[in-house]
Each structure stands twice: as C-alpha cells, then as structure tokens.
C-alpha cells in the first residue's frame, strides 16, 4: 500500500515538469491566439479591432510576462483582472490553474472548460484504445506463440516479415489506404468517417450498435496493427526464452506431453512480460489516436489536441499533454502493480 502511495506521489513532480515544458514550447511556437481570433488579413486594421485584440490579451494575460503567465496557469490563484484580491484583481474569480484542479478554458468557447471537453473526448478515445489493445493481444499472443513453436519454419519467417512491415507502416498512411480500399471509393463495405451515421438518432438500439461497430472497425484496426506487431514480436521472443528454460526440460522429464508442457509452463511464463506491456501500450495507443482520429474524423482526444494546436488553444493543448502524461505514468504504475501481482518472485520479495 505504501508502495502504491510512494509511486503515486512520485508522479506529481513529473507532471509539473511536463506542464512547464508544454507551457514554454507552446509560448515559444509561432502564432498568436489573439491575432488568430480577430485578425482578418484582407480587412484594413481599424482602431476598434486593435482595441478588441488588446482587451482579449488583457483578459487572458497574454500581455504579461511568461513567469506571470505560468504562475497563473499553475495556480491556485487567478492573477487576471477578475482574479484574487491579493494580486490586484477584483476577486470575482479568485481561483484558477492546475493547483486549483482546473485545466483552464478555451479562448474561442469560453464557456467550455478544457477538463470537461477532454473527459468527453476520452470517453470516445479510451474505448477505442481498449478495443484496439484487446484486438492486438487476441491476435498477437497466439501468433507469437505459434511462430516460436515453429521457429525457423516458413510460417515463422513470413509472420516475422509481416509484423516487421506492420510495425514500420505509418498510421496515417495505413488509415488512408484502409479508407481507399474499404470505403466508398473502393469496395464500399464500411463507412470511413466519424463514428455515427447521419441519421443515427432515428435508429433502434440494435441498429445503432451495429452502426457504431461498422464505423469503429477501421479505426480500431488502424490503431491496433502496430501494437499487434509489437506484442507478437515480444511474445515470440518471450516464448523462445522460456522454451529453453530448465523448468521446461524438467517438465518434459516428468513425462508430460508437449502440449501440456507448452500450456502449463511455456505460455504462462512468457505471458508474464507480455501482460505487463499492456500498461505502456494503452497510453501509447491514446497518443497514437492523433493520427487515427484525424484520418477517420473521430471526435476523440487526439483530434481535440490537433484542432486545439491549430487554433492555438494553449490551455486545451497543455491539458491534452498533461492528461496523456498522467495516463502514461499511471500506465507504468499499473504495469508494475500487475507484475507484482502475477509474479510470485516479486510478491515474495515485498513480503
């Protein structure tokens, strides 16, 4: 228990570092949210427009120094004109920033809080990522196992080349190819954009589920194939390593059939490192959702990050990065806990 707490506490400074780096990179990158919002390059500059820009900058503290901006972002005090009284504000909204557990608001839609938007987007992305991880494991574990059991055969070599090719195929390219082949321009089997049909509201429950499944199929395949290749290559080498362990030889010497030896000793032991990969694969999939969701136009977290970046929604981008970072850190923690839970060697070292 104290082990868990220690690990959780150790995540906090990591996230602070991440927030600082993200903040700096965003501010250093070219582009200005105020100009992006108000400036129209074709229209002549008017005093009215300049004043609006000025007010926008003041409201969002974009005219202050980077230190003040970061402290405002970090919180817990709002340093703006309506902020905490201690910092010269009017006291209408005294609290703001990460330490006040607030990821900020969008510039374009001030009524939308970044946290609630990310939560809504994660509700789309996380199920997709989970499905992709499930699909990847369901295919990769048997594939890697049979490759290793028939080591050096044509099947092993073929599957090895295939997984290598899959692992090195860029996701956006694969997504476009899948759309071309299965979409309206090719076989016309599956929808290629969005997660819902235009008239989804009028469908009954079963049709609606089918519609969702048909829309999700290509994105899930696209999200999972690289993880599939990665896991199956790991599985193959884990099985090969286990297969020459002494306990496998000892199990054969007990007179067990090869099938029993593989099921009871080789598979169980090689699944150990594979299972713990899951903790790092899930955040990897969520991060990879940027490309998949852009190609398939899915309103998930990845799409949100990209759109926010285009619009210089500083708070939204920083929020996406922070949440991904937190998920990655939690993923590693989960994989460590999983390892300790399934491996009696670690269980014993702790007790």
């Amino acid at each position: 228990m104290s082990f868990l707490l220690r690990r959780l506490v150790r995540i906090v400074p990591t996230l602070f570092g991440l927030s600082l780096v993200t903040f700096l990179v965003l501010r250093l990158a070219p582009g200005d949210p105020a100009l992006l919002r108000f400036a129209d390059p074709t229209a002549p500059a008017t005093p009215h427009l300049a004043e609006a820009i000025e007010r926008f900058r003041e409201a969002h503290l974009l005219d202050r120094s980077l230190v003040v901006q970061y402290l405002h972002y970090l919180g817990p005090f709002d340093l703006g004109p309506e902020g905490h009284r201690w910092f010269g504000g009017s006291g209408v909204r005294p609290w703001h920033g990460l330490l006040a557990l607030d990821l900020g608001h969008e510039y374009l839609r001030p009524q939308v809080s970044v946290a609630s938007e990310i939560a809504a987007r994660l509700a789309v992305t996380v199920p997709l990522a989970l499905l992709s991880a499930l699909l990847a494991y369901a295919v990769a574990v048997p594939l890697g196992l049979f490759q290793a059991l028939r080591r050096g055969s044509a099947f092993d070599v073929g599957a090895g080349l295939l997984t290598l090719a899959l692992y090195s195929t860029p996701v956006f390219w694969a997504g476009l190819v899948l759309q071309l082949v299965f979409g309206a321009s090719g076989l016309d089997w599956l929808p290629t954009l969005g997660l819902r049909h235009r008239d989804a509201a009028s469908l009954d429950a079963l049709e609606s589920a089918l519609d969702l499944a048909r829309h999700a199929l290509l994105p899930v395949v696209c999200m999972s194939y690289a993880a599939l290749a990665y896991v199956s290559r790991h599985m193959r080498s884990a099985v090969l390593e286990c297969a020459c362990a002494d306990y496998v030889l000892a199990a054969r010497a007990k007179g067990l059939a090869e099938r029993v030896v593989v099921a009871r000793h080789v598979v169980r032991n090689s699944l150990l490192p594979i299972l713990t990969l899951a903790g790092s694969i899930l955040p990897w999939l969520v991060g990879g959702s940027v490309a998949v969701e852009t190609v398939f136009d899915i309103p998930g977290m990845g799409k949100y990050a990209i759109d926010s970046l285009h619009n210089r929604e500083y708070d939204a981008v920083a929020g996406c990065v922070l949440i991904s970072g937190a998920m990655t850190a939690l993923g590693f923690l989960v994989s460590d806990v999983l390892y300790a839970w399934v491996d009696p060697r670690i269980r014993h070292d702790r007790t």
Partner: protein
C-alpha cells in the same frame, strides 16, 4: 550382479553435438548398467560428457545432439523413437536437473509442481495426484503440514528447492532416477542429506545414477563408481575398491586432488587418436598415442581402460 536386476542400461553410446558447423563428440562408446538397489556415481570433470549421458538416459538430448551409435534400454527393451520414450520418461526413468532453482517453474507452488507428473502424465484425479505429491514430498523430508508446500520456488531455501526437485522427480515412482549433480551447490551437511535420499530411494528398489564431480563424496555414499573422462568410461567398479586402489591414472589424479584440495592440472587439447588422457598422464608412453585402450575387466568385477593399470599409484 544378476542380469535380471539391471533396470536400465546404456550400450556403446556415442553422442555427437553439432556446434558452429563442426561435430563435437560428447560420448564415445559408453556402456553402463543401472542395477536395482544400487547408487551408481558417475564421476567426471566439466565437459566429460556426464550430463549428456544423463540427458540421453531420459531421451531429452538437445536439438543439436544426435545419437551416432548405441542405445539406451529399459527393462530389456531398447528405447527408440519418441513413442517408447514417452512411455518410459518420468515413470520408468526420471531425471532430476542440475540447478534446482532454474528447474522449478517460478509460477508454480511446491505442491502443484510435484503433483504435476501424477496428474498430467499418469492422468490421476487432482486429489489423488496431490496425495501422491505429499507422499513424495514426505520422502524428500517435508512434513505433511509444512508451510513451504504452498510456497513458490523463490520463497524456498536452497536445500528445500533441491528436495522439491527430488520429490518432483520421484513423484511418479520411477524405477530409475538420474540425478544430475544434486549436491553441487550445497554445503557438506546438506550434501550428505541429499545422498541419504538417493540411498533411501535405492533401498526401496530403484536404481540411481548420481552424476557428480565429487569423488570423495561418491566414495562415501555410492555403491558403485564410474569414472568418465572425455566421453569414455575409464574405470568402473565397487565404490570402496575404486577409491582404495584406483587402477586408472585419471582416478588416481582425482583422488589426489580430493585429498590435497589442490586444483587438478588443466586439461590440455584433447588427443585426436590414442588415449584421451595421455596429455595429463604421468604414465604416458609412446604406445598410448597409437590406440585407445579398451575397458578390461580385472578381479572383483572392476573394469579399467588402461593397459598400465598395475603401475597406478595415488600421487
């Protein structure tokens, strides 16, 4: 030594390893009989082929090894083909591996590991298999309510692990046990306890082949000693006889090393022809280079592969 009491025997076994495109001979015509009620110690240094002989006796030679000549037989039946081996392995001839920690599945507790053979190879019901496992563990020195029985290998002491490996090997009540260096990693009292287990097993009517590099311990605990050098048995006979009056210069060298605790002279390049030991032999002469000496039977049923056995003295 009546013929009927021989449970397993090896006849003229030659095993070749394929390593880096070259053939390496591990066993060059080894013949041993494993007799009911006897512990036979197979003594030799690293690389002498003793572990290879142990693996050959359960038909589990690695993939790069092949049997060039000779065969293993069990109860008079020559074991050829995986079908026959499957019948005998574990129930007829069992094998206890060298490194007890590496030989126990880290994810399996003691009781499951020992019950595995009876359950999955003999097809016994899980409860019956567990009872068998408890019997085997009791013979290996565990009390039946020992908390260690539910632990995993990493939670056991070195001695416990070894006894678990022993119990797993004898759980199917094999007629023959091959124990590969069970005492290598143990201190003296534990090693003695282990040899007592082997002798106890033999007294119950099994044959035991005990692979070791410790001639002094073998002299103490085994009934018979076979000394192996460079893939050939160079001397074999009753343990006391072999130790009291070694008749092969290599046995004499091993004895001298065991008494003085000085390292043996390093092995030189193995000779291509003639006696393999002649490079280290104090008695070597020109004729040793021409022909490889055969095992010759001396008085008392002892066999020695040295024509100059009468001159052998312990240095």
């Amino acid at each position: 030594m009546s013929g009927a009491a021989v449970l397993a025997s090896v006849r003229d076994l030659c095993v070749v390893y394929r390593r880096g495109g070259r053939d390496v001979r591990a066993l060059r015509g080894v013949s041993v009989d494993l007799t009911r009620g006897r512990v036979t110690a197979l003594v030799g240094e690293s690389g002498s082929g003793k572990s290879t002989l142990g693996l050959a006796l359960v038909g589990l030679l690695p993939h790069n090894a092949r049997v060039e000549r000779g065969a293993v037989s069990f109860e008079g039946r020559e074991l050829r083909g995986e079908e026959l081996w499957r019948e005998v392995r574990g129930s007829g001839i069992a094998w206890q591996p060298q490194d007890a920690l590496a030989a126990l599945d880290p994810l399996m507790n003691v009781l499951d590991a020992v019950a595995e053979g009876p359950c999955f190879a003999d097809g016994l019901a899980p409860m019956v298999a567990q009872a068998r496992a408890r019997t085997a563990l009791e013979r290996a020195g565990f009390a039946c309510d020992d908390p260690a029985l539910l632990r995993f290998p990493h939670g056991l002491s070195g001695g416990q692990r070894l006894r678990v490996a022993f119990a797993a090997a004898i759980a199917r009540e094999p007629r023959v046990l091959i124990a590969d260096e069970p005492t290598a990693a143990l201190d003296a009292p534990l090693a003695l306890r282990t040899t007592a287990l082997l002798r106890d097993l033999a007294e119950r009517g099994s044959a035991v082949l005990w692979i070791t590099h410790d001639l002094a311990l073998a002299a103490h605990a085994a009934h018979e000693i076979a000394v192996i050098y460079a893939g050939r048995i160079v001397e074999i006979g009753a343990a006391r006889q072999v130790v009291a009056t070694p008749r092969h210069p290599y046995t004499a060298l091993l004895l001298a090393v065991a008494r003085s605790y000085e390292p043996a002279p390093a092995a030189t390049m193995r000779a291509e022809s003639g006696c393999a030991f002649r490079g280290r032999c104090p008695l070597a002469r020109v004729s040793c280079a021409t022909s490889e000496p055969e095992l010759v039977e001396l008085a008392g049923g002892r066999k020695v592969a040295c024509p100059f056995h009468a001159e052998v003295r312990v240095p």
